[in-house]
C-alpha cells in the first residue's frame, strides 16, 4: 500500500466517521437512558438497522428522523438539532460519494487534495 493510498484511506475514513446525525442520536439516547435496541422497538425497525445507522453503513430516510424525535419525546429545539444533523450528514454523504469514486479509481491525489484544501489551512481554527 503506497503512502498516498494510506493517507487517502485515512481521509476517507475520517470523513465517513464525521456524522452529526449520529452524534445527536447518541447524545439523546444517552440523555434519555434509552438503548438502541429499545429505540428500534419504538420506531419499528430492527436493532441491526439502528446499529448500521450509527456505524454509517446505512443512512436513515428523512421520515425516520421524525419518528425518532417523536419516540424520544424530544422538545422542538432538540428535534430540530437532530433533523439538522441529519441534513448535514446527508450533504456530506452525497459529497463523499464523489471521493469514494475517485478512491475506487485509485485517484488518491484527488482525495488528498480535497482533504488538504478543506482542512490543512484550517488546522488552528476551532469552532468556538
Amino acid at each position: 500500500m503506497s503512502s498516498e493510498e494510506v493517507k487517502a484511506t485515512s481521509i476517507l475514513s475520517a470523513l465517513k466517521n464525521f456524522n452529526p446525525f449520529v452524534d445527536m442520536l447518541d447524545l439523546y439516547l444517552n440523555n434519555e437512558g434509552i438503548s438502541p435496541a429499545r429505540l428500534a422497538e419504538m420506531i419499528h425497525v430492527t436493532p441491526s438497522t439502528i446499529s448500521q445507522w450509527r456505524s454509517g453503513v446505512r443512512f436513515p430516510k428523512a421520515d425516520m428522523v421524525y419518528h425518532i424525535a417523536v419516540a424520544l419525546s424530544l422538545p422542538f429545539d432538540k428535534g430540530e438539532a437532530l433533523i439538522k444533523g441529519w441534513e448535514v450528514a446527508n450533504t456530506i454523504r452525497v459529497s463523499l460519494a464523489y471521493l469514494e469514486e475517485a478512491f475506487r479509481n485509485e485517484d488518491y491525489r484527488t482525495v488528498i487534495s480535497v482533504g488538504e484544501r478543506l482542512f490543512l489551512h484550517k488546522k488552528n481554527v476551532q469552532t468556538n
Partner: protein
C-alpha cells in the same frame, strides 16, 4: 478543455460540495449555542475538532525495515513510555509554550498521542531519543506542541512513580503486576491460616469427644465455647481466602487484557496523568 482542467473543475466541485456541508454544520453549531443547547454544541464541536485533527496529521511514508535506524528498532521493544514536561510557563500559557529540547529540528518526527477520553494531541518529537536505565523508561524530548488543544493536557514531570502512586492507580501494567504479586503473597499466608484452622477444627472434634465424657458442667461449657470460636474462625478465614482468590483472578485477567492490547502505559508520578501510546503509533 485539457484533462488537467477537467480534473481541477471536478476537484473544485467536490470541495465546494463539502464546503457547503461544513458551512451548514457551522450554522448548526451556532444555532445550538444560540438556543442554549450546550451539550449539542459541545458534542458537535468535539466531533469537528477530531475530524480536523485526523485529517491534519501530516503523513510520511513508513520507513522500510532496511532504512529503520537502531533507535526505531529499539522503540518497538519498549512498553513504558513517558513524555516529560520540560517547561510549562503557566496553565494560561500552555497554548503557546514550547517544550524545549536540544533536538535536531530537521530530524523531528511526528507522533500522534491519544491521551484518553478527551485529549488528543500532536507532538513534534525529536529524533534523539534517550533511554533512562534501569527502569525501561523511554524519554522523548518534545520539541514543540503544535496542537491547539494542548491546554487540556496535563503533563507532569518525569520522575519515577513512587510505591504509593503505584498502589493508588490500577491503570498501569506495572502496577497490576505488583498488585497480583502482592495478592499471591497474601494468598499463601491465608492458606497457612486455613491449614491451622482445620487443625483447630480437628482439635475441637477431639474436645467434643472429651466433653461427652467430661465429668463436670464447667468442662462441658468450656469445650463448647472453644468449638464455636474455632468454627467461626475457620469460616472467616475460608471467606478471606476465597475473596482474595477471586480478586487475584480478576486482576490477572485485567493484566492479560492490557498486555494483549499492546498499549504502552506510563503513569506520572502524581497518578493524575496516564499517557497511552498504542505501540504501532511509535512508528507513525
Amino acid at each position: 478543455m485539457s484533462s488537467s482542467a477537467n480534473r481541477n473543475d471536478k476537484l473544485d466541485g467536490i470541495v465546494a460540495a463539502f464546503e457547503q456541508a461544513f458551512s451548514e454544520f457551522h450554522e448548526m453549531v451556532t444555532h445550538c449555542k444560540d438556543s442554549s443547547l450546550d451539550d449539542e454544541a459541545r458534542v458537535l464541536t468535539s466531533s469537528y475538532d477530531s475530524l480536523v485533527t485526523k485529517i491534519s496529521i501530516p503523513w510520511d511514508p513508513p520507513p522500510s525495515p532496511n532504512s529503520m535506524s537502531s533507535t526505531a528498532v529499539w522503540q518497538e521493544e519498549v512498553d513504558v513510555i513517558s513524555v516529560p514536561s520540560r517547561k510549562f510557563a503557566s496553565d494560561d500559557d500552555v497554548n503557546t509554550v514550547l517544550l524545549n529540547s536540544s533536538g535536531d529540528q530537521q530530524a523531528r518526527r511526528r507522533l500522534h498521542i491519544d491521551l484518553g477520553e478527551i485529549q488528543t494531541a500532536d507532538f513534534d518529537l525529536a529524533q534523539d531519543i534517550l533511554r533512562t536505565p534501569p527502569d525501561d523508561k523511554l524519554t522523548f524530548l518534545v520539541n514543540s506542541v503544535t496542537e491547539q488543544k494542548i491546554d487540556r493536557i496535563i503533563i507532569q514531570n518525569d520522575s519515577i512513580p513512587t510505591e504509593n502512586d503505584q498502589e493508588k492507580d490500577l491503570s498501569g501494567e506495572y502496577n497490576i503486576d505488583k498488585k497480583v504479586a502482592s495478592l499471591r503473597k497474601k494468598l499463601k499466608g491465608n492458606f497457612l491460616i486455613l491449614v491451622f484452622s482445620i487443625l483447630f477444627l480437628l482439635a475441637s472434634i477431639g474436645l467434643i469427644a472429651y466433653s461427652d465424657s467430661a465429668s463436670t458442667i464447667t468442662l462441658r461449657l468450656l469445650s463448647l465455647v472453644a468449638i464455636m470460636s474455632v468454627v467461626t474462625l475457620s469460616i472467616s478465614f475460608t471467606s478471606i481466602v476465597f475473596l482474595s482468590w477471586v480478586r487475584g483472578k480478576m486482576l490477572s485477567e485485567q493484566m492479560n487484557e492490557i498486555k494483549e492490547a499492546k498499549t504502552s502505559v506510563r503513569l506520572a508520578n502524581d497518578a493524575r496523568t496516564v499517557v497511552l501510546l498504542p505501540r504501532e503509533l511509535v512508528h507513525a
